[in-house]
Amino acid sequence: MPAEITRNRYIGAVIMRITGDFTRRLAKNKMSMAGLFVVAALFLTAIFAGYLAPYPPDEINTTNILVEPTRQHLLGTDILGRDVLSRIIYGSGVSLSVGFVAVSISTLIGLVLGAVSGYYSGIVDRIIMRFVDIMLCFPSFFLILAVIAFVGPSIWNIMVVIGITSWMGVTRLVRAEFLSIREREYVQAAIAQGASDFRIIFLHILPNAMAPVLVAATLGVASAVLIESGLSFLGIGVQPPDPSWGNMLTEGKDNIEIAWWLSLFPGLAILITVMGYNLLGEGIRDSLDPRLRQ
């Protein structure tokens, strides 16, 4: 079918042009490149933690406790003589995985509810939107803590709980996109041709609604990392002796009068990570926003 091939070639060319355009603009954006660099560095650190860390993260050395940063221990040691730098390196895996799993869950929920809400409108839409309003009434930290209190603290529970308490923004976003895209000619044409709802939602509307979702997901990872570190700091997240940046800061707080390095460095790691995701997210937004095109 030559016509089919021509059409596919044409679509391919259009996609190439759009993504090429997007990639080029993303690459020109200095902020987003900085963000991408940080995120990539975080990935590599988490994957190669075993090779990068100078010491095992839980190697206790009682003759070497609370050492200030030196050449042997670049970021000092903690109350059990464990190397802070090594623990920060191993802790990167926690931040990475919590961010990704939590955001995958919330984005999935948001996509489904937002798509249903925006496509079908009417009573379904009203119920879902009211549900969103109600969920937004809960101070999210209260809701998360309450659920954790009932189901118990563990890294898996935290990922799931952050995911199921942070889907509201994506839902609203997807709904708004669906409301506007549904009225476009090509969707109307598909409806007129008798395409199934499933086909229209997933093939015609969803791909065109993904851009803002991508931005929201990137920024969502940043906030999930922040929430996880807060929970671990309070002792309700990742449990010691497993290192996470949040629970390392708890030790910092307990030794606040004598060991400043325990408080400074893990927090710096959180700050840089969150900033990386934020910069990347903002960069993607700028690169996708057609209004900013020259």
């Binding site: 309003d133 101070p139 209260f142 969150v274 934020n278």
Partner: protein, 325 residues
């Protein structure tokens, strides 16, 4: 106006019901039920006794009956008795702690408004200036800093190294012996760091928001008109532009309520301030379920009230809302 308020109040009812349903389902998420604490490790328990205990607490009834009873108690502000050693009614424990949390949140809102609005206006008026670029960096920091880490750093700097400010508690041990002005000064000193920390995230968000608002307003035709008729720039910015850019701030303040209340868990725990957030944290650590449920519901209701107040203020400030809505 009266009709508008009535309408808003009626709209709150389904949301309130939704809040209680979600809270109730959170409670039902726990594996097992509250009686397992009593029964699981008790060798004298037989099936008959477990049944009796479950019946005593009404746990053998279908969930909607349980929910109905629970809801009725909620409406009468009866949250049951705390599981903690003091065994006091939950509602008393919560109410004695709410004023402190509200005071801190109110102060940090004032701080946010007082600092973020001038910053936002300045960076919009002098767009792309050094000041604007500086605040952009500050805003990115504000979004990325974990507040509890900021609190730790400030405690190290002002509490440990410089020894200027106390780092924990709401008042000093010798508070009762101080004269009134000294007492006020004492509380103020204790509150500086907590208020600043709880406001920090909001500062960044609000100044960013104010900036984009201002930029939007300055582009409008009526601003061009004001300039065209020869008004000086100060009048244009502060009288014509600022007023219109301020309107949406009311809504944003309302929306920031849940974040502030939720954040109180972290900074009240760090600074050992006896507010609702600290109570919540302690209850979570002790699995004091009645108190957890009580604070969860009250926190959501406070948010709802905050949003309602914001809407009412908005309709006062902008007649278009109450006419159209």
């Amino acid at each position: 106006m009266g009709l508008y308020i009535l309408k808003r109040l009626l709209l709150m009812i389904p949301v309130l019901i939704g809040i209680t349903i979600i809270s109730f389902s959170v409670m039902k998420m726990a594996p097992g039920d509250p009686t397992s604490l009593l029964t699981d490790l008790n060798p004298n328990m037989n099936e008959e006794a477990v049944k009796r205990i479950r019946a005593h607490y009404g746990l053998d009834e279908p969930w909607y009956v349980q929910y109905g009873k629970w809801l009725r108690n909620m409406l009468m502000l009866d949250f049951g008795k705390s599981f903690a050693a003091d065994n006091r009614p939950v509602i008393d424990k919560i109410f004695e702690r709410i004023p402190i949390t509200l005071l801190i949140n109110l102060l940090s809102m004032i701080l946010i408004l007082g600092v973020a609005i001038p910053i936002g206006v300045m960076s919009a008026v002098k767009k792309d200036s050094l000041f604007d670029k500086g605040t952009t960096v500050f805003v990115f920091l504000g979004f990325a800093i974990p507040t509890f880490w900021l609190a730790l750093l400030l405690m190290i700097l002002f509490g440990v190294k410089l020894d200027w400010l106390p780092i924990s508690g709401f008042r000093s041990l010798n508070y009762a012996q101080l004269s009134l002005p000294e007492q006020i000064l004492d509380v103020a000193k204790h509150l500086i760091l907590p208020v600043f920390v709880s406001a920090f995230g909001g500062l960044a968000g609000m100044s960013r928001y104010m900036r984009s608002n201002m930029l939007e307003v300055i582009r409008q035709d009526y601003i061009t008109t004001a300039r065209a008729k020869g008004l000086d720039e100060r009048t244009v910015i502060f009288k014509h532009a600022l007023r219109n850019a301020l309107l949406p701030v009311i809504t944003i303040l309302g929306l920031s309520v849940p974040g502030l209340i939720g954040g109180s868990v972290i900074f009240e725990t760090i600074f050992a301030i006896p507010g609702m957030g600290q109570l919540f944290y302690q209850s979570v650590m002790m699995r004091d379920y009645p108190t957890i449920m009580g604070i969860l519901v009250i926190g959501a209701v406070l948010t709802l009230v905050g949003n309602l107040l914001a809407d009412l203020f908005y309709s006062l400030a902008d007649p278009r809302i109450r006419v159209a809505g």
